[in-house]
Every structure is written in structure tokens, then in C-alpha cells.
Point group: C2
Chain length 316, copies 2
């Protein structure tokens, strides 16, 4: 474990790199545009140049020994291939692991970003010392990464954890996935915006944004934090839907710890308190008394540290 590794969080617009020391601390960052439309070679080349810059920051005689990388799903973690994530159309079906390993002459692993964040929290954050954990990401979408006895649970086809599209109301709002009443229609950033705007319309109010920018889920959360009654109601409904989803996972998986990350989750207890109350309402007392719902303490470092852990696995 006395190796330096690099973690790479490839996002739809930006890519973050973290240089990770042998004690698993991130000691340097690089942030570059992803520009997926430039195509696989250009993206790989930009990442390779950033890795070379990070290599320059190492003490004499030390070198980066492996890379762990994550991206929005779907990802084939076994082959290290990005499949067809929306917003990264320039990189569809790219064998990223193979390309980067060849370019850098390093072991490389590739994982879904929610799963990398889960590994980060499990080994270095809220999950330290636990055997099992679920990481729930609440942002533009809602997803979960399941860790059982220290291992990621991928499912039969690598698509486990799609809690965002579990049905809460068969006759509910139409979801981007084509179904109705999914968790994501209540709890995601776009869901918060829609529900808030609808509540404003119902009350005949205008939304209190000063700029002409479109409203975001994070802003709805912020308004709730400032005491905006309608925003508080919307957050409470979102938290309730999240609570039903977590209670369902707790009853089905018998896992106790739910670490909630993602942009909307930054609102903390505004979202998590109604979720906790709902879990008390809709699971066995023996289950609800064990369930812990906590915010993800590592934030954006979570996926990078998870990638670092994957990098060390790739060296074995």
C-alpha cells in the first residue's frame, strides 16, 4: 500500500483528478473540461496530460502506480467500457480502461460514479468499520450503490441499485424513464423544481429568483433552508419519497446504513429528517431502529477516493 495512485471522476461537463498518497489522502487536484464531443482520443489525451502534471508533483523517485476512474453509468466494469451514458454521447462504447492503460502504461479500473462514491464513503468516510452500506445519490437523478460485506453488488447485468425508478405511485407523474410515479419524480433536482413551480402556480405566486436563470433543485433546497414555506413543503415530500425508498431497501436488503450524497443531498436534514420519519412509519420497529440515514461527509472527494481504492485493487 505504499503506492501513489490517481483517481479520475469523469463527469458530463468536467473531469476531476486527484493525486492520492500512500496514506489515502488526496494531496493535489486537477479539474479539466470533459468535452466528450471531441471524441475518445482527445479525452484520453487530456486526462493523460493531467496525470503527467500530477506525476511532476511527486517526491523524487516516486511514481503513480495505478489509476481508478469513474463515470456516469451505464458502465461495464468488467471490460472497462463506457456504454451509453446520456450527456457523454461522444464517448459511447469507448473502451476507456484499455485506452488509458495503454497510453499511461498503468493498471486502470473503471466503475460507475455512484459506486465509486460508495466505495469512497465505505472505506474512508461514513462507512468506515461497517460491513455493508448503501450509498444513495440524489441529484439530477436518484440511484443507489450497494456494498455487501465489503464488496460492490453489481447484479446480474451490472444494473443493480436503480432505486430512482422504483414505483411509488402507478398513477403518478410521468418519469423520464417512461413509467409513472418513480422515486425520481419526487426526489431529484428536476423533480424538486417541478413540484416547487407547481406549488407557486397553485398559490398564484412568482418564484423569488432574482436572476433570469432557470431554477435548480439546489436552489429549492436553499429556499427551504431560508424558511420559504412552499419550498419546505416540497423538500418534505421529497424526503418522504426518499424515506419510502430507503425503508424498502432496508426491508429487502437488511442493510442498516444509508449514506446520502449528490447535489440535492447537500441540503442535509431538510431532506433527511422527513426521510428518517418516514422510515419509522413504514418499516418494522426492529428494522427502523437500526436504520441510519446520514449525509455523505466526503462530498466530491468521495468518488476520487473510491477511484483510488479501485486503483489499488487494479494493481493486485
Amino acid at each position: 500500500m505504499d503506492d501513489w495512485v490517481v483517481g479520475v471522476d469523469l463527469g458530463a461537463t468536467k473531469t476531476a483528478l486527484g493525486l492520492i498518497d500512500p496514506q489515502d489522502h488526496i494531496v493535489a487536484y486537477r479539474r479539466i473540461p470533459t468535452d466528450a464531443d471531441d471524441g475518445p482520443r482527445a479525452v484520453v489525451e487530456r486526462i493523460a496530460r493531467s496525470v503527467a502534471e500530477l506525476q511532476e508533483e511527486l517526491p523524487d523517485g516516486q511514481r503513480i502506480a495505478a489509476m481508478g476512474m469513474c463515470s456516469p453509468g451505464p458502465v461495464d466494469h468488467r471490460t472497462g467500457t463506457l456504454i451509453d451514458p446520456p450527456n457523454l454521447s461522444g464517448l459511447h462504447h469507448t473502451p476507456l480502461r484499455h485506452m488509458l492503460a495503454g497510453r499511461l502504461e498503468l493498471p486502470v479500473s473503471l466503475e460507475h460514479d455512484a459506486r465509486a462514491a460508495a466505495l469512497g464513503e465505505f472505506y474512508y468516510g461514513a462507512g468506515r468499520g461497517e460491513r455493508s452500506m448503501v450509498y444513495v445519490v440524489v441529484g439530477t437523478g436518484v440511484g443507489a450503490a450497494i456494498i455487501v460485506d465489503g464488496q460492490l453488488y453489481h447484479g446480474a447485468h451490472g444494473s443493480a441499485g436503480e432505486i430512482g425508478h422504483v414505483t411509488l405511485d402507478l398513477d403518478g407523474e410521468l418519469c423520464s424513464c417512461g413509467s409513472r410515479g418513480c422515486v425520481e419524480t419526487y426526489t431529484s433536482g428536476p423533480g424538486l423544481v417541478r413540484h416547487y413551480q407547481r406549488a407557486l402556480e397553485r398559490e398564484g405566486k412568482e418564484h423569488p429568483q432574482e436572476t433570469g436563470q432557470p431554477l435548480t433543485g439546489e436552489q429549492v433546497a436553499r429556499l427551504a433552508g431560508q424558511g420559504d414555506a412552499l419550498a419546505m413543503l416540497v423538500m418534505a415530500e421529497a424526503g418522504q419519497a426518499l424515506g419510502i425508498a430507503i425503508a424498502s431497501m432496508a426491508m429487502l436488503l437488511d442493510i442498516d446504513l444509508y449514506v446520502v450524497g449528490g447535489s440535492v443531498a447537500k441540503s442535509g436534514d431538510l431532506l433527511l429528517e422527513p426521510a428518517r420519519r418516514t422510515v419509522l412509519r413504514c418499516s418494522y420497529p426492529s428494522v427502523s431502529s437500526r436504520v441510519r440515514i446520514v449525509p455523505a461527509p466526503l462530498g466530491d472527494d468521495g468518488p476520487l477516493l473510491g477511484c483510488g481504492w479501485l486503483a489499488r485493487q487494479a494493481m493486485r
Copy 2:
């Protein structure tokens, strides 16, 4: 594997024993009353006498080499202890495995009955050749047993698979567990009876039972099979709730095969067709196209064969 083993399915009222040959066929049965109120010693003694009778049926020179046993949960499969299943109060906190192993001088294992049925179907029934499978029992209650890569998934505290108490409607009907709108309020035998009786009342009808016996879920299913319009509606609603539950499991677990057993499931497609249609409505096309929902072909032999498999494991 050239050993004879015995499977024991301890039920609330009756206990079934099956003598299983080296080729995993049940070649003889015994059915005895459970009479749990007589206490642990009497129950163990009755089972031991039945095992001795089955031993008598073996070819010369052969003997029973191990026992696998199952009972309603909760069960601690690691210590082989029955915890506190309702309807078996005379056996609460009984170390059944230890007592039977001592009395019979055989290796014994104890598992939850739904999990034993799942193992039976996985190794000898609908799940042969699969890697992963979920067994869903729909009877007085609703539960699931999850098999991942050939292994039972127990969860952190042995309580995984409580799909019957996943919430479908926070404001729904009060469930025996204290929550509202659980899957079980729609899909279980007692749920079918309540919904059917309510539908009859709404229509100002009497239920078409001839005897003075109370109605059962199996009878509601039979009436639906005979074309009773209200019973068909109730079964369709129950199937829809089962479908939402299976879709949720498919999205979360990424497992394709759902084998449905239990007394209510004997109605077959009356329950399973609406479930299949619902899965198409409320999961990704990539997921719903893979999901298979099939009746459990082994019926009451399933738990016995699963116990036989466990018995062989206990010998290792």
C-alpha cells in the same frame, strides 16, 4: 452425494418429513401434527420417531446421513435456533438444531421455510441452471428469499427479503405490521378475503360460499378462476401489487427470475399475468424484457428438497 438425507418442514400446525435418496428424489413422506404447545422435547421426540420410521424404509446397510429442517421465521440459521415465530409460541427460542442433532446423532441444519423453498426451486425446480433467483411466497403473508450466485442472501441480521412489508401506499390500509399500504395488505390470502368482502358489500351482494366456513384467499382465487367478476378484480389488484413489488426487486437487485409459490400463488396466471403486465409498466424496458415470473413447480416438495440440499451442506 451417495447419501440418504431427510428434509423436515415444520409448519404451524403440521410437520412434513421427506426421505430423500442419493439422486435427490423424495421417496417417502411422513406427515405429523406439530403440536408446538407440547413444548420442544415432545416436538423433537415426535420428529425423531418419524425419522426412525423413514430409516426403516431404507435398503439394507443404508442409513440417513443428515437432516435439513425449515420452519416459519424468524430463525437464526447460524445457531440453528427458532426465534419467535407467531403460531409456534411453544417453541420460541428453541435450539432445534442442537436438540435434534443430539437426539439423532446426525448433522442438522435449520433455515427459514421460504429460504428452504427457494433452495429447492433453485437446485431442483424452476431455478435449475440459473445463477440468481428470487423466490416469492404469497400465502398468509408475503415474503421473498434471495439467491445470489447460488448463495442465500440473509442480510446483516438475517431478515432480508421482507417484500411483503414494502410500502405501496403510505395512506393505504393498516397492515398487521403496524404500517399502512404494505404489499401484504393487497396480495396475501387475508388481503384477498378483505378486499373481496369489501367489494361484495359495495355491490350489496353476499358471498357465494355454501358452507358456514370463513372465506379463504384460496377460495377467492378459485372463484376468480370460475369467472366471478368481483373475485377477478380482486386478483388483478393483488397481481398488480405483486408486480410493483417484483419490479422494485428487479430494479434494485438486477435479478431476472421470480419464482412465486405459496397457497395464493396456486391460482397461477390469475395472479401472475397482472403481475407481469405491471412489471412491463413500471420498470426499464431492458429490465422488464428480462424479468420472468413463474409459478413454483415443486409446490410442497420445494421446502423438503431445499432442506435435503441443506442437509448435504451440513455434512461437509
